[in-house]
């Protein structure tokens, strides 16, 4: 059966990864009809929602798992996958299990998580430090301490793109790394406003202020432009997700030699279990329903998981697969995952609406030097207090 699958994986690596799913699915005798639309949130989502509400749904669609799809599920537009999940024993295979939680509503399972993306990385250009007579830092504090010297040398200590999500990402990384995973979970998950406003958190905000200072000469928009600054030595480092590694590879840089990656800023080595998931809209056609089930199974099959994640550069959602081909930094990630140092992504914990408010706050904070760390903290605390 032809099954239309929409997603926003359009770049080279992503597309290659999707191709693995498609291959595996086609092997079951069905046909994967690709409906790729680039540009996640803003662009693709209204299209997908319109298709679903317009009464002309696709067979399956990518969605950030988390709370985004809740309403679609509540509106009864999404197919309940519980029986398939039980049959495939997903509760056991999926690791960390929290991934499945975010697909669950009222005890029923509605989506298939397919990968884990880690964001908590600091990327450093070794040569820049050496040239300036500095040791390559091993954690955030050393890095921050080296900043003034770098600035004197005309080097931007921290490269940061201007897009809002990049600043938010930086803050979240600082929060998890410096305040620790528990604090993170409390604040985002339990909406603990008191903690958010506490002394303990103040140091995170101070660090954010430092980061703001370190990045004040960074005049680029895209994250990859920022990465290019690091590669070319215009900047010393960047806080970015694991996808930044691709840029280093394209520039023929070697991990450990030319650049260093520090998960969790070298302080708390944790990984956020954010990632992607697939949902299956309800349709009348039994043949399609059948094919949807097939696809759900295929996506979680160990073979497909390995093939997919190797291409995608992300981590598999199954703990029981072997990723021998992974590179250095990726292996570091796998280790952390194996140790169980995982946290849930904010998507899973907080509504998109509240996250946007947090987003806005940090965008403003990083761009407005006159906004003090204290101000930011108190605003943050009030957002957390009102969040849902």
């Amino acid at each position: 059966t032809d099954l239309e699958v929409t997603h926003w994986w359009t770049s080279g690596g992503e597309a290659a990864a999707v191709a693995e799913f498609a291959k595996a699915f086609d092997a079951t005798g069905n046909k994967w009809v690709d409906g790729a639309i680039a540009g996640s949130g803003g662009t693709a989502r209204p299209i997908m929602i319109s298709r679903i509400t317009g009464g002309d749904p696709m067979g399956a669609t990518q969605f950030n798992h988390g709370r985004q799809a809740e309403e679609l599920v509540e509106a009864g537009l999404m197919r309940d996958l519980t029986d398939i999940a039980e049959e495939g024993n997903w509760k056991e295979v999926i690791h960390p299990s929290s991934l499945l939680d975010s697909c669950t509503l009222d005890g029923r399972i509605y989506c298939v998580p397919v990968n884990i993306h880690s964001q908590q990385w600091l990327w450093l250009n070794n040569k820049v430090f050496e040239d300036n007579g500095l040791a390559v830092p091993t954690n955030w504090d050393e890095y921050a301490a080296a900043a003034p010297k770098l600035q004197e040398a005309g080097i931007v200590p921290l490269a940061m793109g201007q897009q809002p999500w990049q600043t938010t990402l930086a803050f979240q990384v600082l929060l998890t790394a410096l305040a620790g995973p528990e604090a993170y979970t409390k604040i985002f998950g339990e909406k603990d406003a008191e903690l958010a406003g506490s002394e303990e958190m103040a140091k995170v905000f101070q660090a954010a202020a430092t980061a703001r200072d370190m990045s004040k000469d960074s005049n680029v928009q895209g994250w990859n432009d920022a990465t290019t600054m690091v590669i070319t030595g215009k900047a010393a480092g960047q806080i970015m997700g694991d996808w930044a590694q691709g840029e280093f590879q394209v520039a023929n840089q070697v991990a450990g030699e030319d650049y260093t990656c520090l998960p969790g800023l070298g302080v708390n080595e944790v990984i956020m279990t954010g990632g992607d998931a697939f949902y299956f809209p309800k349709v009348d056609d039994p043949a399609i329903t059948e094919a949807q089930g097939e696809l759900a199974k295929v996506m979680l099959s160990p073979e497909a998981q390995v093939a997919f994640n190797l291409k995608k550069g992300s981590l598999p959602v199954r703990g029981d697969v072997d990723l021998a081909a992974a590179n250095d930094c990726m292996k570091k990630g796998l280790d952390i995952l194996a140790k169980g140092n995982v946290i849930q992504s904010p998507d899973q914990l907080m509504s998109a609406d509240s996250l946007t408010q947090v987003n806005d706050l940090f965008v403003e904070f990083f761009n407005n030097p006159s906004m003090t760390a204290e101000d930011a903290q108190s605003m943050f605390a009030s957002i957390v207090g009102n969040a849902d």
Partner: protein, 296 residues
């Protein structure tokens, strides 16, 4: 003898009425219907999907306490005022230049118009580069020896909106120019002659005779520009994404972000209701004067 009174006349002008059916349907069903729907749902706390969970004015409270929204409005006002003035000014001046029976008119016109054909998703990037202080114009000028030259509109929160304006005008004036050119081409040659005899300088002829004669075209242009301003979105997204910080946010982006990024439809609807309200307050009295019954 037939009645002396005016007969029932619904069937007079029947073709015109038939021809106006699409307009009537669009106006009533789509625009009025859609607007009513939007206003209605702005009183709900709809998130991803429109739902009838009414929360009164809560969305509006939040809207007006959001600094992002306030900045958006301010930016829109600045951008709108400048964009309107400069689009009309530049558009008209270019059209007037092209109307001087010049050679290569087609080439010039196409050059001035081409930006309109290119989607802003990427041209925004080109502008972003050109205005980037590290490798754009500032860089070039500085490397020519003028070290203190400063030109970084997109990276300075104070003036970022003007940086966006530079690209906005680049993209939009060509069309206005074409519109004006079409208007100029509709003006009787003898009027020019009369003005020449009257010894009226060129600029005055344009200002006091030709422009007033082109009233209709100007109104069209103003509506075109103004509606474009209200909807300005991709220009900002492509160049600054609303940054630095939120210093270049605009209302349409606020609406879009609220609806599709934050997934708070209610908030998006409230913001667009406010935008519409402003438009209605400005447009309706004007439209009444302009199109209202007074003229035959």
């Amino acid at each position: 003898m037939a009645a002396a009174t005016r007969p029932a006349r619904w069937h007079r002008n029947i073709s015109a009425k038939v021809a106006a059916v699409p307009m009537i349907i669009t106006a009533v069903v789509v625009f009025i219907g859609g607007t009513a729907w939007t206003v209605l749902y702005s009183f709900t706390n709809s998130k991803l999907l429109p739902r009838e969970k009414f929360v009164g004015l809560a969305q509006y409270d939040r809207l007006w306490s959001s600094s992002k929204w306030l900045i958006s409005i301010e930016n829109l006002a600045i951008y709108g005022a400048f964009s309107l003035i400069f689009s009309l000014l530049i558009g008209f001046m270019l059209a007037a230049l092209l109307d001087q029976k010049i050679r290569f008119e087609d080439t010039f016109r196409t050059i001035l118009l081409y930006p309109f054909a290119l989607s802003f998703i990427v041209t925004g990037l080109a502008w972003q580069w050109i205005l980037n202080p590290d490798f754009g114009i500032q860089h070039v000028v500085r490397s020519l020896g003028w070290e203190s030259f400063n030109f970084d509109p997109l990276y300075n929160p104070e003036i970022v909106i003007y940086g966006i304006l530079i690209a906005g005008l680049w993209q939009g004036t060509g069309l206005i120019m074409c519109l004006m050119l079409a208007g100029l081409r509709g003006i009787d040659e003898d009027i020019w002659k009369a003005a020449k005899i009257d010894g009226i300088p060129m600029w005055k002829t344009y200002l006091f005779i030709v422009i007033p004669m082109m009233r209709g075209i100007f109104i069209t242009a103003i509506v075109l520009i103004a509606s474009g301003i209200i909807k300005v979105y991709d220009l900002v997204v492509a160049q600054t994404g609303g940054g630095p910080g939120i210093s270049s946010e605009v209302p349409a982006k606020y609406v879009y972000d609220a609806m599709f990024l934050s997934q708070n439809l209610g908030q998006g609807f409230a913001a667009s209701t406010m935008m519409l309200l402003t438009v209605v307050i400005i447009v309706v009295p004007w439209a009444y004067l302009e199109f209202g019954g007074k003229r035959k």
